[in-house]
C-alpha cells in the first residue's frame, strides 16, 4: 500500500519533469549546429540554394517568412527572435538604418558584390546613401496585368482605368497600403512619397470610392492566380509576377501606365544584434555568385540587379519588358521613401478605414 501511494504521488511529478526537460533539450539542441537565421519575404529564394549552401559551407539556413514589410518590422522589433540576415524593401530598410538597427556589412567578405550592376547600386542609394548596409536582391516596378481579350490595351495606359468603373468587379488591387495609396496618389497627380495629410486623405477617399469596383485586395501570387484563371481582368501587380503569369496564360499582358510608377528594390541587411554576422556575409557572397543569382532569377523572374546574370541571358528574355522595363519607365518613377512614424500611423488608419 505504501508503495502504491508513493508511485501515485511521484509518477505525475516525474512525467512533468520529463516533459519539461525534453522541451528544453529540443529547444537548445538546434543551436549547437552551425546555423544562420534568415527573415525573408515568402518564397523569395530558390529552396535548392539553401541545400547547396549547406553542402558547400556546412551552414544550415533557417528561414522565417513574412508577407508585408510592416509585418516584418513588428516581429523583428518585438525581439522575440534574433536573425542574422533580413531581406526587406527600400523604405523599410531606410527606416531600419535610421533607427540604427542594422550593422554595416564588411564588403571585403562579400567579394562577389562586384557583380552588382552600377545602375541598381545607384538606385539603392535612395535608401542606403553610402551603400554600407545592403546587398540588393531584386527590383521591379508596379504595373497593370490585364487580360487582352476583355481589356483594351489603350485603357491600361492610365491608372484611371482602375477608377472609372469600366471594369467594375474585375479589378484586383494590391493588399499593401503603400502600393494601393501610390496608385491613388499618382492618379490624383500627387507625389507617391507625399506627407501632406490633405493629399493622403483625398487618396483614401478615392480608394474608398473605388472599393465597390474592386473584386479583392490581394498580393503577388494570389492576385496573379485570379487573372490566370480568368476570375479577374485587371490586377495591380509587380512586374515579376506578370512574367510568370504569361507562362500560364498567354492572353495576359503587362503595362506600366504613363503617369508613372514606383520602382521598388528589395535588399538584404544584417541586423545590429545578429549572432552570426560572419555566416550572413558568407551567405550574401554565395547569393551574389553568378550561378546562384541565376538560380534565384530563374526561380522568381523578378528583375535581378546582378550584372553577371544579366550578361549571360539571351536576347529573348532581355527584351521581355515585364522583367526588364524600358528606360522610359525610369524617367517618371518614384522610389518609396520612409515617411516617419506619424505618417506611417496615418497610413495604417486610412488603410483600415478603406478596407472596413
Amino acid at each position: 500500500m505504501k508503495k502504491l501511494r508513493f508511485s501515485k504521488r511521484f509518477v505525475p511529478l516525474v512525467l512533468a519533469l520529463v516533459i519539461l526537460l525534453t522541451s528544453v533539450l529540443s529547444l537548445t539542441g538546434c543551436s549547437s549546429k552551425q546555423t544562420m537565421y534568415l527573415f525573408n519575404y515568402g518564397d523569395y529564394i530558390d529552396p535548392d540554394v539553401y541545400d547547396l549552401f549547406e553542402e558547400e559551407f556546412g551552414i544550415r539556413v533557417v528561414v522565417d517568412e513574412y508577407a508585408a514589410p510592416e509585418d516584418m518590422y513588428a516581429k523583428f522589433t518585438a525581439g522575440t527572435a534574433t536573425y542574422d540576415l533580413i531581406c526587406s524593401s527600400d523604405y523599410m530598410i531606410e527606416k531600419l538604418i535610421g533607427e540604427g538597427r542594422l550593422a554595416a556589412i564588411n564588403y571585403e567578405n562579400v567579394p562577389n558584390f562586384k557583380n552588382m550592376a552600377e545602375e541598381q547600386l545607384n538606385a539603392a542609394k535612395s535608401f542606403d546613401p553610402e551603400l554600407r548596409y545592403t546587398v540588393p536582391h531584386f527590383w521591379g516596378t508596379l504595373g497593370i496585368l490585364y487580360n487582352t481579350e476583355t481589356v483594351a490595351a489603350a485603357d491600361v495606359q492610365s491608372w484611371d482605368v482602375l477608377f472609372n468603373g469600366k471594369y467594375a468587379d474585375r479589378i484586383i488591387m494590391p493588399n499593401s497600403e503603400r502600393d494601393a495609396f501610390f496608385v491613388a496618389l499618382t492618379k490624383l497627380g500627387y507625389d507617391g512619397n507625399t506627407k501632406n495629410e490633405a493629399e493622403l486623405n483625398a487618396a483614401a477617399d478615392l480608394l474608398s470610392k473605388q472599393k465597390g469596383d474592386v473584386q479583392a485586395y490581394l498580393l503577388d501570387e494570389a492576385a496573379r492566380v485570379k487573372l490566370e484563371s480568368g476570375n479577374a481582368d485587371i490586377a495591380v501587380i509587380y512586374n515579376g509576377e506578370a512574367y510568370l503569369a504569361f507562362e500560364n496564360n498567354d492572353k495576359l499582358a503587362f503595362a506600366v501606365p504613363s503617369e508613372g510608377t514606383c520602382i521598388w528594390m528589395d535588399a538584404f541587411a544584417i541586423p545590429q544584434n545578429a549572432e552570426n554576422a560572419a555566416y550572413a556575409e558568407q551567405f550574401l557572397n554565395f547569393l551574389c555568385r553568378a550561378d546562384i543569382a541565376k538560380m534565384n532569377f530563374e526561380y522568381i523572374y523578378y528583375s535581378t540587379p546582378n550584372q553577371a546574370v544579366v550578361d549571360a541571358l539571351d536576347e529573348e528574355i532581355l527584351s521581355e519588358t515585364a522583367i526588364f522595363p524600358h528606360n522610359s519607365v525610369y524617367e517618371n518613377a518614384t522610389v518609396f521613401k520612409y515617411l516617419g512614424t506619424e505618417i506611417e500611423q496615418l497610413y495604417s488608419k486610412l488603410w483600415k478605414n478603406v478596407k472596413a
Partner: protein
Amino acid sequence: MTNKRNIWLTGPYLVWIAGFIILPLLVILFYAFTNPAGNFTFSNITAAVTDITNIKAFGLTMLLGFLATAICLLLAYPLALCLTKLKIKQKSSVIFLFILPMWMNFMLQMVAINVILEDNGIINMLLSSLGLPNMHIANTFGAILIGMVYDYFPFMLLPIYNTVSRIDKDLINASKDLGASSFMTFLKVTLPLSMPGVISGITMVFVPAISDFAIAEMLGGGKIMLIGNVVEMSFTKGQYFQGSGLALILMLFVVASSLIPGDDEAEASVEGGVVLP
C-alpha cells in the same frame, strides 16, 4: 483523499495554463491599459469602442456570428433528430461523413470554397451550363458566411446529437401514451431535454465565429473587416496598445456569450432523467 492526491495529475496542465493562457492574458491586459510611453490610460479602450471603423467591424462581426450560429442550428437540429433514428452502423458512418472535412487542413478547405464560389468557379459553371445567370458570391459577406457555416457545422451537430441520442426512449413513449401528439412530444419532451446540447453548440459556434479573422481574410478578398481582422491588423502593424484594447473588448463579448444561463440546470435534468415542468 483520493481527490486530493489526484490533483498532482493536473500539474503539467497547470503549467501549460499558466504559461500559455494566464500569462498572455495578463500581457494583453497590461497593453490594453498602457500607452506607448508606458503610462496607465483608458484611451485604448475608449478608442476601441468610439472609432467608427471599429464599431462597423463590431456590428458586422456580431451579425455574422448570429447568422452563422442560426444557420448551423437550423441545419444541425433536424439532422441530429434524424441521426438518432438510424441504425448504429449507419449512424457512425453518417457522423463520420460530417467529421471528414475536419481531417483536411483548414487553409485547403478555404481555398477549395473559394474555387467553388469564384466568378468562374464550379457553382457558376453549373449555373451557366443550365442556362441560368451567374451569381457573384466570391469575396462578399455571403462567402464568409458560407465559410463559417461550413467550418463550424460539426461543432453544432455533435453536441446536439450527443444529448438527443441520450434522451430516454421511455420518456417519449410515455408522452405518447399519455395522449400527446408527435409535435407536442417534441415540444414538451425532446426539445427541453436537448437544450444543453443546443446551448453548448451555440457557444461552440458563436464564440469562434466572432473572434475569427482567417475566414474573413481568405473568403472576403480583404474587403470585409471583422473585429478579428482589425485586431490582427493592429498587431501586425506593431500597434500592440490599440490592438490589446480591442482584443479586451472582444473578450468581454466572448465571456458574455459563454455565460448563457441554464446550462448546469438542464444538464442535471438530463442525467437525472427528470423532465422539467
